[in-house]
Symmetry: D3
Subunit: 338 residues, 6 copies
């Protein structure tokens, strides 16, 4: 694919007890590298999109290892800044059945939190680029990161580059109020918004609207989404719908609203190996189909099937082929392995 | 929590093929340490109860390792006797789906089977103690162990300490007849009895009683349990109800009868990582709530949710927080790990 | 059991990423040895049948390791030829839930593909033997392997040895047309045919027949199977029926047609650890019951339960006891492991 | 042993690539918990000394896990403060042969760095205590930690408790100048000083002295050590001597100066599995022998043999028996394992 | 090779912490199966000798697994008795450098200890057999095992079968006095005796003899060994000489005395992965060369090189080729692996 | 570094039993990807050189995984051809002490063996390139590979690109005679030749020359190397000298001859984790220093230290920093990891 993509965000070291172990008595942690925008970059590169990552990694062996992950799938890391004290880290205990997952963050004071615009040649970074993606997590990292993200979004907008934004609200990183302030600063640059209806209500303060009947989650989009579109003038609002049966079984689907029509994907029942990165797989699936100029229906089916597959793959990134994603949403069935 | 608990029982080395492997071609065994009363001690200590373990461990490195397990969660092992030939051992092959689990015992001639009252300072052990717990497994280990358990129960009773007893019938350890004789010897000291209706019928020989209609397992408690209460004068009869869908999926609930009312917990569908110790987690959950002077409804909900969580945790012990247990039975939902 | 069995086929090295990992970033592969006829030999030997394997393994350490696998369960490997360039190899990525399994073959130019009748003393191999088994995979390996299989089948038939044949069609190994030619060459020697209705239609070109109503898969056997029997005069046609719910959950049953009556097994819902070798476990289960002169109902119940258990066991072979298989189809329930 | 010991320091999470892997492509890290004073506490508790740990651990699962490590060997953690943002962490890549080890610290902003005297009941902590141990690492963690350490040392001195101090200079934590200022603040309270001659020269600024002939490292103690003693009036100066042959082979010995005589231990050639904690094993070995009122010769032999054994044991702590240490320095030879 | 061998002894389950871990905090144990005479049987079978194992294994999955080990290398297990309570077990902590190995036995009350002659058809077992091997360990297991061993040795002698005996004294199994009584009972049947000079002195009570000068260990064989030969009339006395540099480095050689001449092997410096079974590899190496009618020099060189290689191979058994052994003692050098 | 490098060769899947296990009973194989010229490319890219790999990988998941390895260290794989049947594979059993390593090749019929010049745009590949490297292994793969290598070398020479060639003779791949013919075809294009004196004597048939005295291996270079230079007019002949003490200990050094002077590196004693790729690390070390226009002494010291470090790093590639290499040959000593 000819179109180039840039993403901006923090690269994280993820440490997780193997198998179904708990933190308390685990004698080893599995090592993965990820982060919302890094995952989108890796997922897209894996699907053949020319992708460039903008981040800041510490100038030590763990920074090297994190970037090795991105490079291994073909992401261009030549514009990554190096420096700062430490790699952002999180510890993940993966839940099972009735037992929830647990996450401990250790990302304060990270290399990326000290990011500055002087570390990047933005014009060179955006040369030949079609789409820029960033998420609310980057905005939440630090004031410096928020400022940088805003600059990238503004510049992209000015250069006619499509701007994609995933709300990705994390209550452990900022309050609803801070998120509201931070996100409002950047929404004017956004073309494609990945968000759920609660994000609009809780963060943007847009009321659900009259006429909504609560029994069907999709009903709300007839009252709420048009109001969002009116205010922010997005090209697309894209949402996933997750029904949590247990920590290891979810129902999953997605829909896209283009201001006029809603396209709704199939719903899947998925057993979960690792759900981290499934939201990013949803985003990267949608953006891949968007860049390929497919129909809205194809876009949302590709996004949902991509996200669903991610749940079955260890690690943060969704290493699947276009063919695997299509086979899934087209219902072609299972290869039995012989 | 200020209340102190003492448990008495055998500490066992558990060896199990990793993952879903079978004994026949496994090249390693995972090592855990447990045993019914040890599990109750560790579970309670983990929840913050001051707990003391009475057992006998061999004076070798495996005895050290077993006690290290108990100490690591804060159990007081200062009254543990050391000596004997070997650590009691069992080999566990964990079943999956249509394939059953398998257990091989190698606990005959163990250190604990040679236990004697001369090895323990019972008065010191019981100083400041509120509750003593033991199970039928200890009674079945050897005549020496039965005698010791009886002495501990009798002494506890005399000192006004609540006596908790789990029938825990194991057909590989003793016959129904021997169990009947052994258990009858100690029931007079028991305040809280953990047992199922089959225990009462098969071991104590109490008939189900007229008026019972078999379609609902709870029905039997209207005819059978009052007769048990009349005879043994327990404060509580506590029972779990397990519906085995497959080796890796069970339905699980519990109920408690206080001589007057029955409180019944929610029923859970649970996928199983490791069901060993779930009965002990039920017991420890109940005792924790009992020591906290909670309502009977809270007691049984805490017990059942505690047991259900155990199925998702590798090893014999239920390393959960009070908060996790409460969230489960209050239906607060799943933390998705971010 | 006194009856001796011979099987002929390629022994393969199987390499698979551990757990639920994908090929792309796996840092180790689990090692197993198998192959359709090797699996049948090992499964039967494990059940106590005197079994002899005929194959050709490379004269190197991997050939030694492959034969060690067969010997470890008691298979007689004294007639195995050694030589050729390499061991046939396949790479298996095990699917999970919505994600399919993947297989990559690297078996062309294998030791077994260069097999020749001069390497075997057929009369000695068949001494005292009751049953000979081979599958379509062996026929597909190479012209040399097809010729050898035909010679073994013809010789067995002449010696009054029961000939068992599993169609085992593999589209990655030969076309339907080549399979049709190859399989037709040998069917005249076959007593017991393991095949599905699609094999008869697609490979043998026998039409479904009138009167079939498609809603029930078993219906087809009233119209199709009698025609097959008429043409080939098998003693038994044995088929499994697999309903793929997901890559990790299947519904599974089997039936046998003896030319007159159909016996249908129970249907099982099975969670899957490793489905490779389940077809061979079905075959070996049937043959075991056949050699034991059991009823047709017992044969198919044993076959289906045997196959179902295989799905829960890592590796290609079905290391189960007769007791485990019987307990499953008799519905005796689960040993809870204590 | 009746004598009680208190140590004060930071508990750290250690993460290290398994085997001989490097950071860059390691897919898991082994988990250990340690820290200089924690190691001394665990080593002493393991040898049977009643030991109490004073530290501050975060109130999360990693804090729990770290304390579980200390408790598992019998260390009393009942006075540990909980709170702060994160557990201090370090990443260790273990060298081999010509390849050096690498350490990355991520301990800034740790829970312990925010320690305050208000979090501890010092009088209760020191009740019945004979010896207090701390090292220069604690002083270097933060001004708050230095202040707390000084307070503990001063209080111990006032209460007649022996004060043990290990210089443990870490250039990654503070400069020589800062170390000089910090260490000078506390030396007046010290009875037993663990330090090398370079510590005295570089940190305390005491010149080597005339008459030293450089060919023998022990020679320097005739000129330098008496001057140190004169100034600081220690009871003992204890030093280890390490000759680094390669990252996996060292020569190791120790000596102790009591102001009058020097006792020198045997020199050992040791192959290295894990040298982290060997200095702490030297310290704990000496203190164990000191508490047992042994001869100075025994003290230093026990210290050196203890340290040497540590190099062969994975993890930070020296889990050995008194018998193993004595057998080593008495040259009793190797048990061949049968 | 046409000659058949029978060995008699206990098959053991060996459990050992992986890598260089200690028992105390190991979370898994590696599983191996072995035992002195089982090792000799497996080693010989691996070299192509037709070998039959006589033992008694419990009729459970661990018994199956143990026999699977023997079968996997081609040992005939068709005469193995099944029954008894448990498999003999030992726990091995492998030493490293200055740290000794540790062994804990749990073999009392094992299946083999209850062995009886009624369980074996001795005539059938010895049909066509050239050599019978047993060691002192079998004699030490139980009075029943000693009686059985004596019967096998006596019968072998009567049938003209060469009797090989390895003293294999284990102080954890019997006292020197009991060993003396037990071994004296059987020495009259022995043709080939594997023993060291201390065995003759300490167990048989034969004095070193005059004229020996202690500086060279081989010197003693001029005074002691002729006296042994005179009394017991062995065909060969075979001894290994081990110089323990550390737990992971030994010097190793061997020599054989045929009553007239001594042949001495090369001495090797060997780094140790796993020294268990090296004595058995020495024995099997000698017996292999003996059965091949080689020269005495070849016999002892083959024995020593075989034993030396064993030290580098994990597990109890010496899975090497004749070619590898010969290359080692012929000094052909190292294949660099490309 | 501005200078660009191209290497041409086969990318291989390497499978090796973990730890010190043998093939026969290993239940998993570690996965690495390498190959002589791939290793040089990865090593150089890791040191910061802009490096491009030319190879052909199968269009399947294992081909993807192999390229992921190269990409992860920054190698440009955009010119890699995809297709062919399978990935070249080799199985490596790593020796230890007295036990040799073993290699089994399964690379015949590999994707790379079917390489053709039509699959590559040579002019584009060489754009801006300073140095081209290939080894004798590529020449030995197949006639097609030899032809391609010759074309690349010829083209490079014509374009003024430095041509580097490593003899890398592999007796398992071609005979000395075939190697002689193949290598002679390309030597006229070579500027830098990596070869040992035996390569010149055995492959090129150049006699040692008079005046050589065999006691010092370097002596031969006074008689032999000038003759080689005279005939082939290389810029440099670079040789390593390896003294194999055991499979896990080597002495290693290198020297370079520039037609006039010999520069000899230090000699190192190195303990070996994984010696595969050490020759490539020697080559890449030399080329790195060559591209940096360093002195000949620096070049050979960097090459030797680079190779020596490789022995301590698992896998085929030498992931070290310039700083680590320099510290080693400058003798700066060991970082003790704190």
């Amino acid at each position: 694919m000819k179109k180039k993509v840039v993403t901006l965000g923090e690269i994280l070291l993820r440490l997780s007890p193997p198998g179904n172990q708990r933190f308390i008595n685990s004698t080893s942690f599995e090592v993965n590298y990820g982060g919302a925008e890094i995952n989108v970059a890796v997922d897209l590169a894996n699907l053949g999109v020319d992708t460039r990552l903008v981040t800041k990694a510490p100038a030590n062996e763990l920074g090297d290892a994190a970037l090795r992950h991105a490079k291994s799938y073909g992401v261009d890391t030549s514009f990554v800044a190096r420096g700062g004290e430490k790699i952002g880290t999180y510890f993940l205990e993966t839940g099972f059945s009735v037992r929830s997952s647990k996450v401990l963050y250790d990302r304060k004071y990270s290399a990326f939190s000290t990011v500055s615009k002087d570390e990047f040649d933005i014009d060179a970074i955006f040369e030949g680029v079609s789409l820029f993606h960033v998420s609310g997590i980057t905005l939440a990292v630090s004031p410096e990161a928020l400022e940088l993200a805003e600059l990238f979004m503004k510049t992209a907008k000015e250069k006619g580059i499509t701007v994609s934004f995933d709300f990705n609200y994390r209550s452990k990183m900022w309050s609803l109020k801070d998120a509201s302030i931070g996100i409002e600063r950047v929404l004017k640059y956004v073309d494609i918004a990945f968000a759920g209806y609660l994000d609009f209500i809780n963060i943007l303060g847009i009321p659900m609207g009259e006429g909504y009947i609560g029994e069907n989650i999709l009903g709300c989009y007839k009252t709420l989404y048009p109001k969002v579109m009116e205010k922010y003038n997005f090209k697309y609002i894209v949402s996933s719908v997750r029904n949590v049966v247990s920590a290891s079984k979810n129902l999953y689907s997605g829909f896209v609203f283009n201001g006029k029509d809603i396209e709704i994907s199939k719903e899947y029942e998925v057993d979960i190996i690792d759900r981290v990165g499934s939201g990013d797989a949803f985003t990267s699936g949608f953006l891949y189909a968007f860049l390929a100029d497919s129909t809205d229906n194809y876009k949302i089916e590709f996004a949902a099937a991509s996200a669903v597959l991610k749940h079955t793959i260890p690690g943060d990134t969704n290493i699947v082929t276009k063919d695997e994603v299509e086979k899934l949403f087209k219902g072609i069935g299972y290869d039995v392995g012989r």
